[in-house]
Subunit: 175 residues, 4 copies
Amino acid sequence: MTETTPGWLSADELNAARGQMPILYVEAVPVRVDDSGEVTSIGLLLRIGADGTISRTLVSGRVMHHERVRDALLRHLEKDLGPVALPRIPASLQPFTVAEYFPTAGITPFHDPRQHAVSLAYVVPVTGDCRPRQDALDLVWVSPQEAVSPALQNEMPGGHGVLLKQALAHVGHIS
Amino acid sequence: MTETTPGWLSADELNAARGQMPILYVEAVPVRVDDSGEVTSIGLLLRIGADGTISRTLVSGRVMHHERVRDALLRHLEKDLGPVALPRIPASLQPFTVAEYFPTAGITPFHDPRQHAVSLAYVVPVTGDCRPRQDALDLVWVSPQEAVSPALQNEMPGGHGVLLKQALAHVGHIS
Amino acid sequence: MTETTPGWLSADELNAARGQMPILYVEAVPVRVDDSGEVTSIGLLLRIGADGTISRTLVSGRVMHHERVRDALLRHLEKDLGPVALPRIPASLQPFTVAEYFPTAGITPFHDPRQHAVSLAYVVPVTGDCRPRQDALDLVWVSPQEAVSPALQNEMPGGHGVLLKQALAHVGHIS
Amino acid sequence: MTETTPGWLSADELNAARGQMPILYVEAVPVRVDDSGEVTSIGLLLRIGADGTISRTLVSGRVMHHERVRDALLRHLEKDLGPVALPRIPASLQPFTVAEYFPTAGITPFHDPRQHAVSLAYVVPVTGDCRPRQDALDLVWVSPQEAVSPALQNEMPGGHGVLLKQALAHVGHIS
């Protein structure tokens, strides 16, 4: 499920908005890269849902009113990975894909029962020390091979496993 | 100014939402291409604003709740260019850029006094007969060279001229 | 194995060049799309190799001296799919990926024992009637789901199965 | 004019190859970015041509046989900007454009009298200390606004000024 911060709307207002229009999100796939830019590992957040199930997620969150997409990316990366993760926000806003989460399952590979969210997705190298914050239990680094394994994909519901595969395809890793 | 259709929200609700969160738009640069895919001309809509000023615009509009981005693109293209324009919606949702319109001028090259709009921008070849509808007076086809001329750029306020230049740069035309 | 046409070089000259520099290729994933641009099926060529093995391939071939990339794409699509396939060559030359085929296996997911080929890869909707020509036995249309099945992937050696998966990820289909 | 290093071919062999097939290049637009990834300045190399004319160029060079595109990018960035420039090679090989330099002027905006070169172009943030080497006299950092000024564009022949504008359009700066 996509991570959400109520932000500048009250919970009621946000709920009302969610039933009326698509909500804009950004998503980041945090990666480690070598000197030639090749992705060597992917960072996944370990979260416990309201129902106690464990899931692995990417960095994601809403774009606020009057906030630039690149500032939203930076804010969510710092919020989820800590203040010294040193993310390299891309110079271009062209996302590798646009993920459309519908409250109805099956329209796209992406599903969010709470809302219609449209997410701009980026691969973001991080070079610093990552310390998960907020509601994340832990951050684990996995290899591109592990990232697409069925076991791990099963722990990424709502289409986040698909988005991770798309990110890996974009950087040339796929199997 | 970005074109807007109230859609599923009442005018009041839309105004309230506009002060609270970014509104998701799609924008299309309609083009004619030759057999090798090279852009030969660009379609611009001639509009008259509430204050009587004439402007040239691209195809744009909101993404509705529970509407796919590609369906929103198709809907706005048909709305602005007529039912037999035969647009070739791209197979990939990766936009050539994301244009951020802020109610405050100067944060980005894009400005919309009414709202914070975030727009996924695509180049869309159209092969059929285009008949402007709605509030557009006319559709004119200009060459890539004309499209970047200062005279024409001056008729595209709010950053739409910049977006057109970005589209042309993306397809290899720039001067 | 990547398809090759000797073209303007003699076979000897081409062989010499192949040992000395990367050879520029284009690759196209032919697709059928619906009105909203969504990919509904993928066209794969059935070929018989010199050793009798059957393989499925994408459209590919060299870029000639003094030939534009978009003209090379058009030429190879017409050569492989026939003169009335009506391919929609993309307006932008930005490929969805660059596939690097090395004569040594394992450096990238792509392998071509004959040469170091660097291939610009595009998804190309075709709207006309496709009649495979040249050395292709047949053209089959498969669904995005079939395209990533292990059985079919096994018939696409040298990394072409990987490239097909990358193409599907780019257009939002992956599993 | 595109920079060239003979590399693994003798000068004669390279000349022969240049008349027979397109030569694969990489080009990098070196940029400084702020924490949010926004481009703040662009690095241009000052060169003196064989005829004494001064020109400003981007980082560019051939991809060698059996060399990965990302390794070629890294090699040319280190060669032109020095060993401590710390370039951030992109995680994805998807270039922002493919520039086609023809020996005949006018086919594309790009021209190289020596050869048909096809160049994969990337925007590459550099974070370290840049010290131009080889045949470059100096490296100057200019603002996005200066980069598109007619005066500076006039010093970038062969289409490099166009490529720089395309790069700036890709990262959201254009005027």
